[in-house]
């Protein structure tokens, strides 16, 4: 048995190869056949998933850290005593993440069979999902910073391509561009950070860096480590949509909904968190950097949670919820709760994919994303409503759904810090996430049908099985996934993925559980009081009118888009215009002036070429005479008298 599990590592290259092969086959061979292409993608993801589950079970049986070079092309970079090769890394963290990526990818491709039916670019869509899956796996399985960066940029490109799937729609094209450029702002410092690490340690290998304790060996000063950590963290800020680079993620909802579920909820945006977890040796060596991570994460999380309450677009609510949860993961990692942060990444992937796919199911039927145009769908879409309820419960952190356990783990760590500001923020996050999730659920699934738009409620029907199957699977996972990390489980998540020494068995922190569960329940109750017709006691409309500035601030996402528009985009435009002026007047003026001057000189010089042979001959002999005279003068060493023959 143990042997059988050990063999799994030998097949890990299949995890990378299958999605890549699927992408190439789809674009190269089956691009005309929609169904075949889609199934190739699904089967490739399922195959990769099977191998990754095999690997995960092997890691569970015996946690180990293994590395395999992808030896096909030898070293990728080879100079001096420095060798950089692409490879595959197998450790508990990677094994867990690979299973998440492959499973969600497979489920979402299956879901897309129906969701994307009849859409333009069907094969392109599936091909890019396969390419994305490959890139994400390359990132996750990367044994060194450099390969991580390659995967990092590849997933960025795939995100760009898939957000812009409906690129004929200007808003989608703009959103794709925004996502790419904003994440770029984080990627560049990340690259600089990788360079910094390399020039200090001459090593980019995660395992070598951590096992030799390079960060703490005194090779870099405290300030240097702080800068290094922040540079690497910038990449995570961009990719995981943390403040101040969070603005791209809500706009990324222009992409098809399954893409939002795969890339902008479960996997790619979690890459930032994964990076922080992967390079945690670096961050843990700099307490200052950890404090920055915790603060930024908490700030992002609470702001996004408040904004989510004031959104009208079903996907944007879930998108802000994603930002909030990513912030919570960063928060957890920042306060030193390594296992808890990563565990939240794990549980979040399931329930957030579920929420997006549920929202997609609603959108697929209703052809609108405005929650106020929905309502009362619970009676007609029982499966969607039920699975969404599970997702909302999990996201809100209600016992015993997945979100509860991971959120509770983070809460316990925050409460242990005894920092009142952090505790307040953590409670606010929990409260608001319950509030916006159940606001969404009550508005969409309860009450009267069709609040604003006139349409026939009888035409609203449940989505078909292809859409519902992934929903049900994810709902089951969102329910049970949390138990892996429950405090009463002996060999749970925190004994599998941890940082440093194996942790003590966790004791349930009663205060933290009470606070987190209490604030979550309070959030649900508040949502019910405002939005559940059966319990409605207060009108949300009155409240938003009374506190209009607060509502407007939240509804307009803190005006960050406008601030950036006026500060950075305008600045960029000014710089662009100045550069254009410089180019057109100075550079072009120089080049044009050179050409004009040349022409002017040539106008006179060309008269030398008279076409008269004898004129040339005169010039020739004149030149010969001049050269002869010069030769006589200098050849004589300045003694002209000797030349003329007057001296001896």
């Amino acid at each position: 048995m143990a042997d059988f599990l050990q063999h799994s590592f030998g097949y890990m290259w299949l995890i990378l190869l299958l999605p890549l092969a699927a992408f190439l086959v789809m674009l190269g061979i089956t691009y005309e056949n929609k169904r075949t292409s889609a199934w190739i993608g699904i089967l490739a993801a399922l195959g990769a998933d099977a191998v990754s589950i095999w690997v995960l079970v092997a890691e569970l049986a015996k946690p180990q850290h293994l590395q395999y070079p992808l030896g096909l092309f030898g070293d990728f970079i080879n100079f001096g005593d420095f060798h950089l090769s692409f490879g595959i890394l197998a450790d508990p963290l990677a094994a867990m993440m690979v299973v998440v990526v492959c499973s969600v990818s497979a489920l979402i491709q299956f879901y897309s069979l129906e969701y994307m039916r009849g859409e333009e670019g069907y094969v392109r869509y599936f091909a890019f999902i396969s390419l994305f899956t490959f890139s994400m796996l390359l990132l996750v399985l990367s044994p060194n910073f450099f390969q991580t960066y390659v995967g990092w940029e590849l997933v960025g490109v795939c995100s760009y391509l898939l957000i812009g799937h409906y690129f004929k729609r200007p808003s989608a094209a703009a959103a794709a561009k925004k996502a790419f450029i904003v994440t770029r702002l984080g990627d560049f410092p990340f690259l600089v950070g990788i360079g910094y690490i390399f020039f200090r340690f001459h090593e980019l290998d995660f395992f070598a860096l951590s096992s030799h304790h390079m960060y703490t060996a005194g090779l870099v000063s405290v300030g240097g480590l702080f800068v290094m950590s922040l540079l690497v963290f910038s990449g995570a800020v961009g990719k995981s949509a943390q403040f101040p680079l969070h603005v791209w993620l809500p706009d990324a909802m222009e992409g098809p909904t399954p893409i939002s579920a795969l890339i902008h909820a479960a996997t790619m945006v979690a890459a930032g968190v994964y990076l922080v977890a992967r390079a945690y040796d670096l961050f843990s060596a700099s307490p200052g950097a950890l404090a920055v991570i915790a603060t930024l994460g908490a700030l992002t999380s609470v702001m996004a949670a408040i904004w989510a309450v004031a959104q009208d677009d079903i996907k944007r609510i879930v998108a802000y919820s994603t930002i909030s949860h990513l912030g919570l993961m960063m928060f957890g990692l920042g306060v030193g709760a390594y296992s808890a942060g990563v565990f939240h990444l794990f549980t979040h992937a399931w329930f957030k994919a579920l929420l997006f796919l549920g929202a997609g199911s609603v959108i697929h039927v209703m052809h609108t994303q405005d929650i106020w145009e929905m309502g009362g769908l619970g009676r007609r879409m029982r499966w969607t409503a039920g699975t969404m309820l599970v997702g909302c419960l999990a996201a809100a952190g209600i016992f015993p759904f997945a979100g509860f356990w991971s959120k509770d783990a983070i809460m316990s760590a925050v409460f242990e810090l005894k920092n009142p500001a952090f505790i307040v923020i953590a409670i606010l996050i929990t409260f608001f996430s319950a509030l916006y999730m159940f606001r969404l659920w009550f508005v969409v699934f309860t009450g009267q049908t069709a609040k604003r738009r006139a349409f026939d409620p009888k035409r609203v029907h449940e989505s078909n099985g292809i859409i519902l199957l992934p929903l049900v699977i994810l709902a089951v996972l969102a329910t049970v996934a949390g138990f892996w990390g429950a405090p009463f489980v002996k060999e749970g998540f925190s004994n599998f993925i941890f940082f440093g020494a194996k942790p003590e068995p966790e004791t349930a922190n009663a205060i933290a559980i009470t606070a987190s569960l209490g604030s979550a329940v309070l959030g649900v109750v508040v949502a019910a009081v405002f939005y559940w017709p059966r319990f409605q006691r207060l009108s949300a409309a009155t409240l938003t009118r009374r506190y209009a500035p607060v509502y407007d601030w939240a509804h307009n996402k803190g005006y960050f888009d406008e601030i950036y528009e006026h500060m950075f985009v305008a600045l960029g435009l000014y710089i662009g215009r100045a550069a254009q002026w410089f180019d057109q007047h100075i550079i072009d003026g120089f080049v044009d002036g050179l050409a004009d001057g040349y022409q002017l000189v040539a106008l006179y010089l060309r008269r030398l070429q008279s076409g008269r042979v004898q004129g040339y001959a005169v010039g020739l002999f004149a030149g010969v005479i001049v050269i002869a005279v010069l030769a006589l003068i200098f050849g004589s060493g300045g003694n002209l008298a000797a030349v003329a023959g007057f001296a001896k």
Partner: protein, 106 residues
């Protein structure tokens, strides 16, 4: 006692060269120009042969004569080409006066 030395040859060569230059610069007829150029060639050949004869090149004593022979061969070819061109020009423009042939100016 007077004997013919290198100086005599060089004087004759220089005289021939000067005559050639004069002809090249003063004549208008292209045929005359060709003849002038031939005179200059011959003056140079003479000078080279003389240098060789009086042993001014110890490493390759016959280089001067070899050059002279080359010049004779090349001059023959050059004249053939030049006269062919002149014939064509004459057919086209009915003149061989070089100051009227200025087609190749700017």
């Amino acid at each position: 006692m007077t004997y013919i030395g290198l100086g005599h040859f060089l004087v004759v060569s220089a005289g021939l060269f000067a005559i050639g230059v004069y002809g090249l610069l003063s004549k208008r007829n292209a045929i005359s120009l060709l003849i002038s150029v031939e005179i200059m060639f011959n003056s140079v050949s003479l000078a080279l042969a003389a240098f060789a004869r009086f042993g001014y090149n110890e490493v390759q004593p016959l280089a001067g004569q070899a050059f002279a022979l080359f010049i004779i061969a090349i001059a023959a070819g050059e004249v053939a080409v030049a006269i062919a061109i002149l014939l064509v020009i004459y057919r086209q423009r009915a003149t061989v006066w070089v100051d009227e042939i200025d087609l190749m100016k700017w």
